[in-house]
């Protein structure tokens, strides 16, 4: 996957939980009150549904989509309720229902652009004014140029003043040729330009043609007819509907008008780097049944990525975006050391501080921890702590481990009081900091053992206060708890205690 996207495409920006963060925290708020209940009544379902409704409306999901969603969730929950055993699992079962509905709306697996059997593949862009079509044309061209394709940009927006110039400047900046025989500003026939552009691409053996068109309102019949004429003139393999992620309730009438007017095969969401909650994604996907294929996340030409619906659904629900996190990690981690760690893990060997240090180093390579942590399950509920995450923590943890001898790193159980005091002096921290790190490490080690013996725990059942096993602590007012150790008695001597826990 990472190889296809190419290193220039920044998944990191897209991965930032900006878009749905508020929706996610509203959802987790609604569910945590539901989880607190022992037995869920029909009234509780009503309450949680009305909370979800407000959250969705606040995120600009279209009213009709919200009401249908709520109705479905309510009905399915009420049907399932009598069959559920009372206890904490009820809340989870309802959570599952909501999750399923969300994934269903956002569409199943990602679809790629259908390539023409005989090149060039023709892609036509359509959308409202100011949605970001021209910028997107450039990003799309770069995306394919980076994969070895030879795209051609065609300037068929002859309406907006200097849209042609804009496309030319964009083309120049990414080194992609632009077919622009007409100056624009109201001069020239966009249908002719589009046709000639495709012919030109055939003659010059371009593999992909991207046709930029003028922005138009859904109610503007004349311009809609023009778009239809362009479509009929060039027979595109894909028509992409470009839509601003900040769009409100108008998303539905607009999307419908374009679907009926010119028709489209996929959706591109732009300006996802803003703080829009992106309800439009849900609305459009639900109403038009067309997949959201790409997401645009910034002003730079490489701020662009494939849209992953199931990841987005889990992010809305605060389940985290483990898939993107894993991709991110794959890029940063040294494959050799990962393989080594995996082999170690499989052979049942202990996870040592040496491995921990390697992970810390890789982690600092992965970049901003706040963004990465946002992708973890339960991130919505931990938003405050994540925002307060101290990036220096990694540096401090590293300095502590680096002040240990190889023997200590391989076998932390030998860490007695005097060794800890020496380490503290070595790294310039307090002994209590060293103790903290060792405690956390021991807990992580223990958790790894558990995982090995029982397999991965199921994601939805993870507690919201999930502590991250192999990460340093989320500090500063954190509610992340350390795994409680139910030992009859604890030795006051840290070294001894470590020994005891290690043996347990």
């Amino acid at each position: 996957m990472a190889a296809i996207i190419g290193p220039q495409i920044s998944t990191l920006k897209y991965s930032a939980p900006i878009m749905f963060e508020s929706l996610a925290s509203r959802f987790s708020g609604a569910f945590s009150s539901l989880r607190a209940k022992g037995k869920i009544s029909t009234g509780d379902i009503e309450t949680v549904c009305s909370e979800i409704r407000t959250a969705l409306l606040d995120s600009d999901v279209a009213l009709q989509v919200v009401d249908k969603f709520i109705q479905d969730v309510k009905q399915k929950s009420l049907e399932a309720l009598p069959g559920m055993q009372s206890g904490s699992n009820q809340a989870n079962a309802i959570f599952e229902i909501v999750n399923k509905e969300l994934v269903e709306i956002l569409g199943g697996a990602t679809r790629r652009i259908r390539m023409a059997k005989n090149p060039p593949t023709v892609i036509m862009l359509a959308g409202l004014q100011g949605a970001g079509k021209t910028t997107l044309a450039g990003k799309l061209a770069k995306f394919y140029a980076d994969q070895g394709d030879t795209p051609l940009l065609v300037a068929s927006d002859l309406q907006r003043p200097n849209a042609v110039t804009q496309l030319q400047v964009v083309g120049e900046s990414i080194n992609v040729p632009v077919f622009a025989p007409e100056p624009g500003n109201g001069v020239g026939d966009p249908v002719q330009v589009a046709k000639a552009g495709v012919e030109f691409a055939k003659a010059k053996l371009h593999s992909i043609v991207i046709v930029d068109t003028a922005g138009r309102l859904g109610v503007d019949q004349e311009l809609m007819n023009q778009a239809t004429n362009i479509r009929d003139g060039i027979n595109p393999n894909e028509i992409l509907f470009v839509v601003d992620s900040m769009i409100g309730q108008d998303a539905v009438p607009t999307a419908q008008a374009f679907l009926e007017g010119v028709g489209f095969d996929g959706v591109v969401l732009t300006k996802l780097d803003g703080d829009a909650r992106g309800g439009a994604a849900l609305s459009i996907a639900s109403i038009t049944k067309r997949p959201i294929m790409f997401a645009s996340t910034g002003e730079k030409m490489h701020d662009f990525d494939i849209f992953y619906p199931e990841r987005m659904a889990s992010r809305i629900l605060g389940l985290g975006d483990v898939a993107t996190l894993a991709e991110q990690a794959k890029k940063a981690f040294d494959p050799n050391s990962s393989a080594k760690l995996e082999a170690k893990f499989a052979s049942g060997e202990d996870f040592t501080l040496e491995d921990f240090l390697e992970q810390l180093q890789a982690m600092s390579k992965m970049g901003n921890m706040t963004k990465l942590l946002g992708m973890l399950p339960g991130a919505g509920a931990m938003k405050k702590q994540i925002d307060n995450f101290d990036e220096g923590e990694i540096v401090r943890s590293r300095s502590i481990v680096e002040s240990m001898t190889p023997i200590e790193r391989a076998n932390p159980k030998v860490l007695n009081g005097s060794r800890r005091a020496r380490i503290a002096i070595g790294c310039g921290r307090k002994v209590s900091d060293v103790n903290n790190l060792v405690d956390r490490f021991t807990a992580a080690q223990k958790m790894m053992k558990q995982v090995r013996s029982s397999g991965m725990p199921a994601m939805p059942n993870m507690p919201a206060n999930l502590s991250m096993p192999n990460l340093p602590t989320v500090s500063k007012g954190s509610t992340v708890k350390k795994a409680p150790t139910k030992k009859k008695s604890k030795s006051g001597n840290p070294a001894k205690r470590a020994l005891e826990e290690g043996l347990s």
């Binding site: 900006i18 970001g132 804009q166 309102l217 409100g248 108008d250 008008a257 300006k271 703080d275």
Partner: protein
């Protein structure tokens, strides 16, 4: 359906209004992008008002949510400087040109400054507009410092006794702090030469609740004095602007209704509120 129930209420005399009527009105407010909080507040409060019809009570309450500040432009006696700001793609450059044309046709001398040095060909776009409406444009280098363009324009306007100076700026998402501080710099630099009469925030009428976030951020950075609501010629109602009026007290001053330079007019509160329920 909506029409029918409204008709029945009207026949009945309207004093007793079915709750289904209210929920339909609430749905209309929600679909107009007022947002769930404001919509439910409006319905709750309008219920207490004794109007001839629920719709009338609602209109009455809606008008109370408009900002108490003047919806007219406040211009100075010498050079009035208008700074136009907003997120990407809302129609800032077009609004700058329309505004220039509006003042020019009322007989004033106008100057435009091409402060969007970032987006490809934005300067050319404003220059093309300038030629069309015959208004001079001050521009700098592409990717140059927008503050220096604004400064040159302010100097020029002052020296030539230009009555209206309109400064275009690059679109920026309100959550990008570096770009927002660039905007404060533009404002600060202009204010060294000329006081700024108006800071207009351009809001795309199709924007949903994010418009409120935009207004909050821009307002706290550059003290927005009015809103230009663009793209009102589509199927959208632009209700988020009312939420901005209600929550932040920033008045809507202009409404854009099309691509031609004359599709632009001062805000009409009555028509706007009525269209929310239409």
């Amino acid at each position: 359906m909506a029409l029918f129930t409204k008709l029945i209420t009207r026949i009945k005399g309207g004093t007793e209004s079915a709750s289904s009527d209210w929920s339909e009105l609430e749905a209309e407010l929600l679909q107009a992008d007022l947002g769930p909080a404001l919509a439910s507040e409006c319905i709750e409060q309008a219920k207490k008002i004794k109007g001839a019809t629920p719709e009338e009570s609602l209109l009455q309450f809606l008008s109370s949510k408009l900002s108490s500040k003047s919806h007219e432009m406040s211009l100075s006696s010498s050079t009035s400087t208008i700074l136009v700001v907003g997120v990407n793609g809302t129609g800032k450059t077009t609004s700058v040109a329309k505004l220039a044309r509006f003042y020019k046709s009322s007989g004033r001398s106008v100057l435009m400054a091409a402060g969007d040095t970032f987006r490809a060909a934005a300067v050319d776009q404003l220059k093309t507009w300038g030629e069309r409406i015959d208004v001079p444009v001050i521009s700098g280098q592409e990717n140059g410092d927008p503050a220096s363009v604004a400064f040159d324009a302010a100097k020029n306007a002052q020296e030539n006794n230009v009555e209206i100076l309109i400064i275009d700026t690059a679109g920026r998402l309100h959550n990008k702090s570096d770009l927002m501080s660039e905007l404060t710099k533009v404002k600060r630099v202009v204010e060294k030469t000329l006081p700024i009469s108006e800071v207009l925030l351009v809001i795309d009428a199709t924007t949903g609740q994010n418009g409120l976030a935009q207004a909050k951020m821009f307002s706290s950075t550059v003290d927005v004095t009015g809103v230009v609501l663009t793209k009102m010629d589509g199927s959208t109602k632009g209700g988020v602007a009312l939420a901005i009026e209600a929550e932040l007290g920033i008045p809507i001053k202009w409404v854009g209704t099309g691509e031609s330079e004359s599709d632009f007019s001062p805000f009409d509160p009555g028509a706007y509120l009525k269209s929310l329920l239409a």
